[in-house]
């Protein structure tokens, strides 16, 4: 186990130190007093764990390919940008564009998330990215989504109207959003439909809900207290008839 005190450190130096530790096969890295340094875990590969105390900056875990990052605090914008594999566990809230173009791995956010979360998420072969959001989500959730799963629990929002912003699933052409509470139809993009999740659907998300509950100390039964709603696109080719050939 190695500990880095990040107070006042430039992100370039901090990330260099992390990469050096990884090179000598360190499996457990703890970053203390993180003060908004960007690009933590940017492009790192392998199997190890980074625990962050404080507030990491934008683009945390961008292009990340394997490791686990646990954040005791909030994360800012573009976390898990184009992430390929690994896990991000945030004991707090997230800023905008979380999981932009994410291709694989799992992201768990205890609290709420900002705008355009899961935008252009995609899946490929055995890679199926998952984002679990404990609280609320801003507008354009799952915009252009092409694959993967977003699970929106809305645990701090019993009022479904306030659980997600507008334009949810706009331009969506793949993947699925599961919402614990129904989303008002005027907030959904025209490309998606919403139906009650069936047993198979619930079966497919149970494991992620279980992990979410165990990471953040929620009671599984009270989170899984109802049948979720499933939001998915009408077709994989939303723009098929747009052009004159």
């Amino acid at each position: 186990m190695a500990t880095i005190y990040a107070r006042g450190m430039h992100y370039k130096d901090l990330n260099e130190m992390i990469k050096k530790l990884v090179k000598i096969n360190e499996k457990e890295i703890i970053l203390k007093n993180v003060q908004g340094q960007r690009y933590i875990g940017d492009g790192i590969q392998g199997e190890y764990r980074i625990t962050i105390e404080g507030t990491p900056g934008n683009d945390m875990a961008a292009y990340m390919d394997g490791p686990t990052i646990i954040v005791h605090g909030n994360v800012q914008d573009a976390t898990a940008n184009t992430m390929n594999d690994g896990e991000v566990i945030v004991h707090g809230n997230s800023g905008d564009t979380l999981g932009y173009a994410m291709r694989g791995g799992e992201v768990y956010i205890k609290g709420s998330v900002g705008y355009r979360v899961g935008i252009h998420m995609k899946e490929y072969m055995n890679k199926k990215p998952v984002i679990v959001i404990g609280g609320k989500a801003g507008a354009f959730l799952g915009e252009y989504m092409a694959g993967g799963t977003i699970i929106l629990l809305g645990l701090n929002a019993e009022d479904p109207q306030k659980m997600v912003g507008s334009h949810c699933g706009t331009g969506m052409h793949g993947g699925t959003i599961y919402s614990r509470l129904p989303i008002d139809s005027f907030k959904l993009g025209k490309e998606v439909m919403q139906i009650p999740a069936d047993d198979n659907d619930m079966e497919s998300v149970n494991i992620y809900i279980m992990k979410f509950c165990s990471y953040f100390g929620f009671d599984y039964d009270s989170v899984r207290d109802r049948r979720f709603w499933k939001i998915y696109p009408y077709n994989k080719r939303p723009y098929k008839n747009l052009y004159a050939y």
Binding site: T82, R103, K236
Partner: protein, 500 residues
Amino acid sequence: MSFSLLTPEFIVERNDERCIRCQVCVRQCANLVHMYDQEEDRIVADDSKCVNCHRCVALCPTRALTIRRNPLEFKENANWTTSAIREIYKQAETGGILLTGMGNDRPYPVYWDHMLLNASQVTNPSIDPLREPMELKTMLGRKPEVLNVEDGKVKEKLPPQLKLEIPVMFSAMSFGSISFNTCQALAMAASEAGVMYNTGEGGLHKDLRKYGKNTIVQVASGRFGVDVDYLQAGAAIEIKIGQGAKPGIGGHLPGEKVMAEISQTRMIPIGSDAISPAPHHDIYSIEDLRQLIYSLKEATDYQKPVSVKIAAVHNVAAICSGIARAGADIIAIDGFRGGTGAAPLRIRDNVGIPIEFALAAVDTRLREEGIRNQVSLVCAGGIRNSADIIKAIALGADAVYIGQAALIAIGCHMCQKCYTGKCNWGIATQDPNLVKRLNPEIAARRLINLLHAWTHEMKEMLGGMGINAIESLKGNRLMLRGIGLTSRELDILGIKAAGE
């Protein structure tokens, strides 16, 4: 079913005396123009399907075929031209956005043709490149403010540079818009000629990773095929913001083209649409661009130059100043004549500005602000020959990208139907039967030949001006004179009129 008002654009003429009924034309045409009538023992053509790509003409063993423009004319009308009328018919019949391929073909002025180069006479000697050394080597990347030399060596570590044997690179063309064989030909040619080719936004096929030293990998809004290994596979990374043929527009590879190999390279499921949103949704400002640039630099340990490609638009100079300050090492500017595999016709023909103006404006602005050394400028969009390159460099470019010229070198006939995926020349298609028509080795040889020829020509032009290194021509606008330009145009280009 209602009949179409669209009459054939071209007429296929067959000299029946020469035709030996070998049916090569029938087999070669992916548009199914030619048909063999067994009963009559003759070949007939459906003119309406012909795109005038010359495939059948070139392969007909008895030279029996020719294609002509259909002489059928509408009543003469300077406003309602044939194409204006036809386009309305097409949209009235389909309700769709008109698509097109390759660069803007409208008769806007080509400013390269309004600039003339200088040559030495009496007062300074010209140089004969056949007998004297002539340097075309070009380094792209951020240059330091000052160069501190100690014991004959540069003191500080220089930012990463891309080394080019000649100031020409192959533009970004994705696997998807062009065939694998075309990608391979470009990679092989770039590798042998010591220049770069660009993957476009379609990812990097595993079989092409070996050409990494001569590859620029592109990151666009769809992030197709982008992972750490991809970022590290090339010599440089390019962030694609825009494209000259469709500024402000995203990309869209239709699902039917996403077959096994493309699915693997783009890392998306087979048959799904590959949609590139118009903006990068993590970039809404110069500060955000800086964030993406540095996320890429962090991911590759500051070992690779990062380029930012934009379309030439009205405020291009101010935008480029921002891009330079955001930390880009290279800025690629794509003019409104830049090519494309598919673009909405109205966008291609009406959006953006000529590269000549954009380049001059950007170079001037960066010099005025004292930051020209911070970035290299790459000029793209309709470069046709070595003279265009020399003029571009004199206007302020460090190097050029060629896309359409490269494709023409390997057989493209500019039929502008790339978006149909039925390219008879095996270039802009994914149909395995068409792809195999393009032999990568032969195509690479043709590209290398073109670059060799241009190298000689560039050296001749430089020598004529009394210059023996391309570096001395960079931004040397005294080597240019304008012809047939207004004084406003001359001002923007920063050149004098012929005779001045």
